[in-house]
């Protein structure tokens, strides 16, 4: 098991060198410093944005659920629930 894990780790490290050899990494191959920096910046940006969105949603959901914990479930007829409230003069 330990040997298998070490082999996988070694393969991953070896592949990171292979990318450089094959010029598969555009930021490594670009001669322009500004271009290399743009690749690094956009990689960070595209990594952080989804993590922030998911993290923000989980944080908000947790907060909302905690706030709801105190509220009891009440049997209320469907037509009296606020969900069904319409924007009308009758409301």
């Amino acid at each position: 098991m330990r040997l298998a894990r070490a082999s996988v780790a070694a393969a991953v490290v070896a592949l990171s060198w292979a990318a450089d050899l094959a010029s598969a990494c555009p930021s490594c191959a670009s001669p322009l410093e500004e271009n290399r920096q743009a690749f690094v910046d956009t990689t960070i940006f595209l990594t952080v944005v989804p993590l922030l969105m998911m993290g923000g949603f989980i944080w908000w959901l947790r907060r909302k659920l905690r706030a709801m914990e105190g509220t009891p479930e009440i049997a209320v007829p469907e037509n009296l629930l606020p969900d069904s409230a319409r924007f009308s003069k009758e409301r």
Partner: protein, 196 residues
Amino acid sequence: MPDDALGHPYAVPARREPVLPNGVLGMLIFVATEIMFFSGLISAFVIGKSNAIGGWPPPGQPRLPIEETAFNTAALLASGVALYFANRAFKTDSPNTKRLLGLAIALGGFFVVFQGAEWVALINEGLTLTSGQLGGFFYLLVGTHALHVVVGFIILLYTYQKLSHHDLDRFAFWPAQMFWYFVVGVWPILYWQVYL
């Protein structure tokens, strides 16, 4: 089945208000994908810009109208503010809801028309989708956003129609607002990246 004082049966299953209504959750997921889509486009533009030989904007290409678009940006932002106040008025059943929603729609419509006029002027100056990197990126980014503004405009019109018929509930209003806030929120980033 026994009735309560109002004559409604009370032996109904207990329920809580959902944490997130289905419509809002659906729109949230959609907006998240849209954020990633625009992030991808902006990233491609940033890399393209950094790779341009001879500086950016490329020499020999028409200049983008910075001041006029700043005014148009203000109109779109004002539309978002008007929608925010429309929601506040909606919560209190205020008759101002219709007026404010109408204002948000009008400002959104103004943005689309102004943008169209800007495009016509730029095309006449020779900036087209195939005229170079600037034209290609400009019409791709700004055009994609314009398409979203048009869709948001239609959604707001539909919302306005529902409101006029006293048939609008908050679970229909929220997703429409979310989409419009996204459209409004992404534009200053595009303006900053593409125009400035």
